[in-house]
C-alpha cells in the first residue's frame, strides 16, 4: 500500500520536475522573471567564471574584473524584462560585459591623475595615462601564470579597445566569428578584419620577445 502510494507520487512528480541544471538559459530566464531566485543562481553559476575570465583578459586586473562581472549580472537581472530570446543568452551577457569593460577603460583614460603624472613629467615626454599594473598576487594557485603568459596578457591589454575585444573573444574565449559579430554588434567582415588586425598588432608588439 505504502509502495503504491510512493509510486503514484513519483509518477506524478517526475515528468514535471526537471533538474535545474538541465534547463536551458531561456527557461532559466523565464523562471527568473517568475520570481525564481534559484534559476538566477543557476545562470550565475554557469556564466560567472567565463565572464570573469573574459573581463580579466580584457582589463588584466582581477579585482576590477570581478567587480565588472558582478555588475554585469546585476544589469542582466534588472533588464530581464527587456531581454529578447532571439539571441543566445551568452551573447547578451558577453555584450553587457564588453560594454562595461570598454566603459571602464575609458574611465581610466579620463582619470588623468594630473597630480601624479603632470608634476613629474618633463616637457619632452609623451603624456601617458596613469594605469598602474596590478601587482597583487592572484587569489588562487591556478592563476599563477608563466612569464610568457603574463607578457602576452599585458600586450593584449595594451591593444586599442576595438581590437582588444575581438581578439580576446576569438583567441582566448574561443568564440566563433558569428558570435563575436553578434556580441560586438559588428558585421562579419568587420569582425574578421579586426581580429586579423589585432593579431598583427600583437605580433608586432611581441616580435622581439620570441
Amino acid at each position: 500500500m505504502a509502495l503504491d502510494k510512493f509510486e503514484k507520487e513519483s509518477a506524478a512528480v517526475s515528468p514535471s520536475v526537471v533538474p535545474i541544471e538541465n534547463l536551458s538559459d531561456h527557461q532559466l530566464i523565464e523562471a527568473t522573471k517568475g520570481g525564481d531566485e534559484t534559476a538566477f543562481g543557476e545562470i550565475m553559476r554557469r556564466y560567472r567564471n567565463p565572464i570573469t575570465n573574459y573581463i580579466y583578459r580584457f582589463l588584466n586586473d582581477y579585482e576590477e574584473a570581478v567587480d565588472l562581472a558582478q555588475e554585469s549580472f546585476v544589469r542582466v537581472y534588472f533588464a530581464l524584462e527587456r531581454y529578447h530570446t532571439e539571441y543566445a543568452f551568452s551573447t547578451y551577457i558577453y555584450r553587457i560585459a564588453t560594454n562595461l569593460a570598454i566603459s571602464e577603460i575609458r574611465k581610466r583614460k579620463r582619470r588623468k591623475l594630473l597630480s601624479l603624472t603632470g608634476l613629474f613629467q618633463y616637457d619632452n615626454e609623451e603624456a601617458q595615462d596613469f594605469n598602474p599594473p596590478d601587482e597583487k598576487s592572484l587569489p588562487d594557485e591556478n592563476l599563477i601564470e608563466s612569464e610568457q603568459s603574463r607578457t602576452i596578457a599585458k600586450a593584449i591589454a595594451t591593444l586599442p579597445d576595438k581590437y582588444r575585444a575581438p581578439i580576446v573573444l576569438r583567441d582566448v574565449e574561443g568564440k566563433t566569428y558569428e558570435e563575436i559579430a553578434q556580441i560586438l554588434e559588428l558585421g562579419l567582415g568587420t569582425t574578421k578584419s579586426r581580429i586579423s588586425r589585432a593579431r598583427k598588432l600583437l605580433r608586432e608588439k611581441l616580435e622581439h620577445y620570441f
Binding site: M44, N49, N53, V66, A69, V74, A153
Partner: protein
C-alpha cells in the same frame, strides 16, 4: 598564393593546404609570422582559467538587493517607446499640413506672380496706338494656362481691362504711368521721412514690360517720330514675327526662323529674301513701322515670289 591569402588561411587555424605549404617554404616573412603567431597562440592556450571568487553569487544578490528602486524605468520606458514615435509622427504631419495650407490654401502666402505688379494693359492710355497681335496658341494646355494667368492678373488688378475681349495686349510706356515726383531729401528739408527719397523710389517702382525702344527715362516727346508714331527698329520687327534677318547686298535674307513664332507657323523658310512687308516693297533704308502688327510678307524663294499671310 600570395602572403595575404596565406595569412588568411593560416589564421583560420586549420590544416594548411599544399599550396600554402609551398608558399610557406618559399617565403621567409610568412615563416617568421607563423612562428611568432604560433608562439602567441600556444601561450594564450596556456592561459589559466580565471575563476570568480566563491562569494560571487552572494555579492551579486547583495548588490541587487541594495540597488536603488528602479520602478520608474520599467514603467516609463514602454510608455516612452510608443509615445515618442507617435508624437514625432504627429509633429511631422502637423508641419506638413501647415506647409500645405500655407503654400496652397486659400489664405496662402502670395506667390511671385501676385507680388509682381500686373502688366498694365492699355486701354488706360489711348495715345499709344501700337499693338501686338495675340499669338494663336496651338497647345490646349498652354492656352488654358494662359487663360488662367490672364484671369489671375485681372483678378489681382480689377482696373485692368480683360484682355480676352480685345484679343490683343497693348504695351504702355512707363512714362505714361503717373509716377509721383521723386524729391531728394536735401531738396525738401521739411520731409522728415527716414531714408530720404530712396523710400519713395522703392515704393513706387513697378515692373512693366516695354518694347526695347522705350526707355523709362525718356519722355513721350522723344519717343515719337514726326508722324506721331514711335519708331520701331528693323530688328525688333523681325524678332517679333520670329525671324532673324541678315542683310547682304541690300537684301534682307532670313537667317533663322523660330518654329513657334508667327513666321514659323506661316512657313517662312531660311534663305527666303524678304521683298515686301504688308505689300510695301522694302528699300535699303531700315524698316520702320508704327506697329508691331504685320499681316503679310512677300519673300523671294529661289526664283519664285511667295506671298505669306500671317494668321492671328
Amino acid at each position: 598564393m600570395n602572403c595575404r591569402d596565406f595569412l588568411a588561411a593560416f589564421e583560420e587555424r586549420t590544416a594548411l593546404t599544399e599550396t600554402a605549404r609551398l608558399h610557406l617554404n618559399d617565403c621567409p616573412g610568412c615563416r617568421q609570422t607563423t612562428v611568432v603567431q604560433t608562439h602567441i597562440w600556444e601561450a594564450i592556450d596556456g592561459f589559466p582559467q580565471i575563476d570568480a571568487p566563491k562569494n560571487f553569487n552572494f555579492t551579486v544578490k547583495a548588490r541587487i538587493a541594495s540597488a536603488p528602486p528602479t520602478n520608474l524605468q520599467p514603467k516609463l520606458l514602454p510608455v516612452l517607446r510608443y509615445v515618442l514615435p507617435f508624437s514625432a509622427i504627429v509633429l511631422v504631419l502637423g508641419l506638413l499640413a501647415f506647409n500645405t495650407s500655407f503654400f496652397f490654401g486659400e489664405n496662402s502666402a502670395p506667390s511671385v506672380a501676385q507680388v509682381a505688379p500686373p502688366m498694365p494693359i492699355a486701354a488706360e492710355n489711348p495715345s499709344n496706338n501700337f499693338s501686338m497681335p495675340v499669338l494663336p496658341v496651338a497647345n490646349t494646355d498652354s492656352a488654358q494656362s494662359l487663360t488662367n494667368e490672364r484671369s489671375f492678373v485681372e483678378s489681382a488688378n480689377p482696373n485692368v481691362k480683360p484682355a480676352n475681349e480685345e484679343r490683343e495686349i497693348k504695351y504702355v510706356a512707363l512714362n505714361s504711368a503717373k509716377k509721383p515726383p521723386v524729391v531728394p531729401r536735401r531738396a525738401n528739408p521739411k520731409d522728415d521721412s527716414i531714408g530720404g527719397g530712396s523710400r519713395v523710389i522703392a515704393s513706387t517702382t513697378t515692373r512693366v514690360l516695354t518694347p526695347p525702344e522705350f526707355s523709362p527715362n525718356k519722355t513721350p516727346e522723344t519717343l515719337l517720330n514726326p508722324n506721331g508714331l514711335p519708331p520701331i527698329a528693323d530688328d525688333s520687327i523681325w524678332s517679333f514675327i520670329g525671324i532673324e534677318i541678315v542683310t547682304k547686298n541690300g537684301n534682307r535674307t532670313v537667317k533663322a526662323v523660330n518654329p513657334n513664332s508667327l513666321a514659323g507657323r506661316a512657313d517662312v523658310k531660311v534663305g527666303d529674301v524678304v521683298d515686301a512687308v504688308d505689300g510695301a516693297k522694302l528699300s535699303s533704308e531700315p524698316l520702320s513701322k508704327g506697329k508691331f502688327e504685320i499681316k503679310s510678307l512677300t519673300v523671294l524663294r529661289g526664283t519664285e515670289k511667295v506671298e505669306i499671310t500671317f494668321q492671328n
